[in-house]
């Protein structure tokens, strides 16, 4: 462990951002250099804001998607789609809480939910043509709602 309690990683990032904005940007001669450094300062601010909460945020999103996946799996099983249901039943916890590990699990769940969404979309359209809704509407609505909520968190 090389990080220190003070300054925290967050304080280091914020301090570097502040120092660049105050000490360096005004000294730059060209518009291009000021624009590039301005972007760099903005990125440091983004990292500073997200650093401390990144793992927690990913864990919350993984838990929420896992819950939706379990509900959707049950709906698929009830509608006779056992293969799609099996793909959604990934229950092992992430191997560790590194951000890279959590991102990988996050991605797996998004892939599984996307596959389920497309399967539901296709089944609903096919069955609508024959007048049979098939019972997957709630599952589809649940996945869509999960993606809407995930997207909403990107603006928080």
């Amino acid at each position: 462990m090389k990080l220190t309690r003070r300054p925290t990683p967050l304080e280091i990032l914020e301090g570097v951002q502040r120092g660049l904005a105050i000490q360096v940007v005004p000294e730059l001669a060209s518009d291009q250099a000021r624009a590039e450094l301005g972007s760099a300062v903005g990125l440091l601010g983004y990292l500073a804001r997200d650093f401390d909460g990144a793992a927690q945020s990913l864990l919350e999103e993984i838990a929420a998607m896992q819950q939706v996946a379990t509900q959707v799996a049950a709906a698929f099983r009830a509608a006779g789609h056992s293969e799609e249901a099996a793909d959604l039943e990934v229950t092992d916890p992430p191997a560790d809480v590194r951000v890279s590990t959590l991102f990988a699990r996050h991605d797996e769940l998004q892939e599984a939910l996307l596959a389920a969404l497309l399967a539901a979309d296709h089944a609903i359209e096919d069955r609508a043509a024959s007048g049979d809704a098939g019972g997957l509407e709630d599952a589809r609505a649940g996945i869509r709602a999960a993606f809407v909520r995930l997207n909403g968190r990107r603006f928080g």
Binding site: S30, D31, Q32, A35, E36, L37, S39, A40, G42, L43, Y46, F103, H106, D107, Q110, E111, L113, L114, L117, L118, D121, H122, E125, A141, R144, A145, F147, V148, R149, N151, G152, R154, F155
Partner: protein, 347 residues
């Protein structure tokens, strides 16, 4: 590969040596233009003698970057400028194209600089331009209509791949699906769900196969203080296709610049679409407009993912690329979900 750099001495040498008969060359006021996301762009003043006459010109030099938001084609863009010269679509004159990368660490082309105009959307939304906002909007959609109505078949556009009216949608969707699949670093479920939906619900065939600028919007037009558009820029994505593609791109929320109910940031939707219809002689089919509006978000997502991936892999060195992606990717997803009606199921 280093980002290309143009100097006064270097450009003077190019002007003198790239063509015979030029002498007394002087180059000054070289400055890089901030904000070019797909090419490195310089502005400069040049003076030279040729055939007994002295020419003074403001020039723009557009160079290929190492990598950026787009993998675009320089010859293609240059040919589009040439193809629109002397039409009723205003463009700067394209002067020379240079494949030899040794001049400035990258191939480039040179075009006329149109002075006294503004392109930056934030400045176009502020004084003094806000006083002529209505005229800017009408010009924006009138010229969009002229591009859509342009008779490309009379010649000069052979560099564009031909396409049948009922396949325009498929080719563009394939193109941008490939871009997204090549550059995405994670699942991207929303844009991929949109692509799946779009393949199952194609738009009606194009009313005519037209030149599609590919990035026609507020920000890519040169506006003078009276509100008149003096030049349409950034033709690197132009192709033949469905003219509604261009219209939907121009109207999409990304390019409303803080005025969310105004298409292009300038006109109410009814006025914008009506202006385009009168200018182009075409009709805005609501089903086609919806499909191409969705496509606009898919394409924009492809662009942002390309920039992020190129930055992540060290192929692009523009520091703004990850910020653009972080900020705009969720906005494209939100736009897609709104157009697909998903927000109805949001809590």
């Amino acid at each position: 590969m280093a980002t290309p750099v143009v100097t006064a001495e270097g450009f003077a040498t190019y002007l003198e040596q790239a063509a015979t008969g030029r002498s007394d060359v002087a180059v000054s006021n070289v400055r890089r233009i901030v904000g070019g996301a797909s090419r490195v762009t310089y502005s400069l003043d040049a003076r030279w003698s040729e055939g007994g006459a002295t020419t003074e010109a403001g020039l723009i030099v557009r160079l290929d970057p190492p990598a950026s938001l787009l993998d675009s084609n320089r010859e293609h863009e240059y040919a589009a400028y040439r193809g629109m010269t002397d039409s009723d679509v205003p463009v700067p004159a394209a002067l020379w194209i240079e494949d030899d990368a040794s001049w400035f660490d990258g191939p480039f082309f040179v075009m006329q600089r149109i002075d006294g105009c503004e392109t930056a959307p934030q400045r176009l939304m502020a004084p003094p331009f806000d006083a002529v906002a209505g005229r800017i909007g009408v010009e924006l959609f009138e010229i969009a209509g002229r591009i859509s109505g342009f008779d490309w078949a009379k010649g000069g556009w052979e560099f564009l791949e031909s396409i049948e009216a009922d396949r325009c949608w498929e080719r563009e969707l394939d193109r941008w699906t490939n871009v997204i699949e090549r550059h995405r670093s994670d699942a991207q479920p929303i844009v991929r769900a949109a692509i799946d939906w779009m393949r199952r619900h194609p738009p009606p065939p194009a009313q005519r196969v037209a030149v599609v600028h590919g990035d026609y919007r507020t920000g890519n037009v040169l506006v003078d203080p009276s509100g008149a558009i003096q030049g349409v820029l950034d033709w690197e994505m132009c192709h033949l296709g469905d003219p509604i593609e261009d219209l939907a791109w121009t109207c999409m929320p990304n390019w409303r610049w803080g005025r969310p109910k105004m298409y292009g940031g300038f006109l109410e939707p009814t006025e914008a679409l009506g202006t385009w219809e009168r200018s182009s002689g075409l009709h805005v089919d609501p089903e086609a407009f919806h499909w191409w509006s969705l496509f606009a978000h898919v394409k924009a997502q492809g662009i942002w993912l390309t920039g992020a991936r190129n930055f992540a892999e060290g192929e692009a060195d523009a520091v703004n690329l990850p910020g653009i992606s972080l900020q705009l990717s969720p906005i494209e997803d939100r736009g897609i979900m709104a157009l697909l009606g998903w927000h109805e199921v949001a809590p």
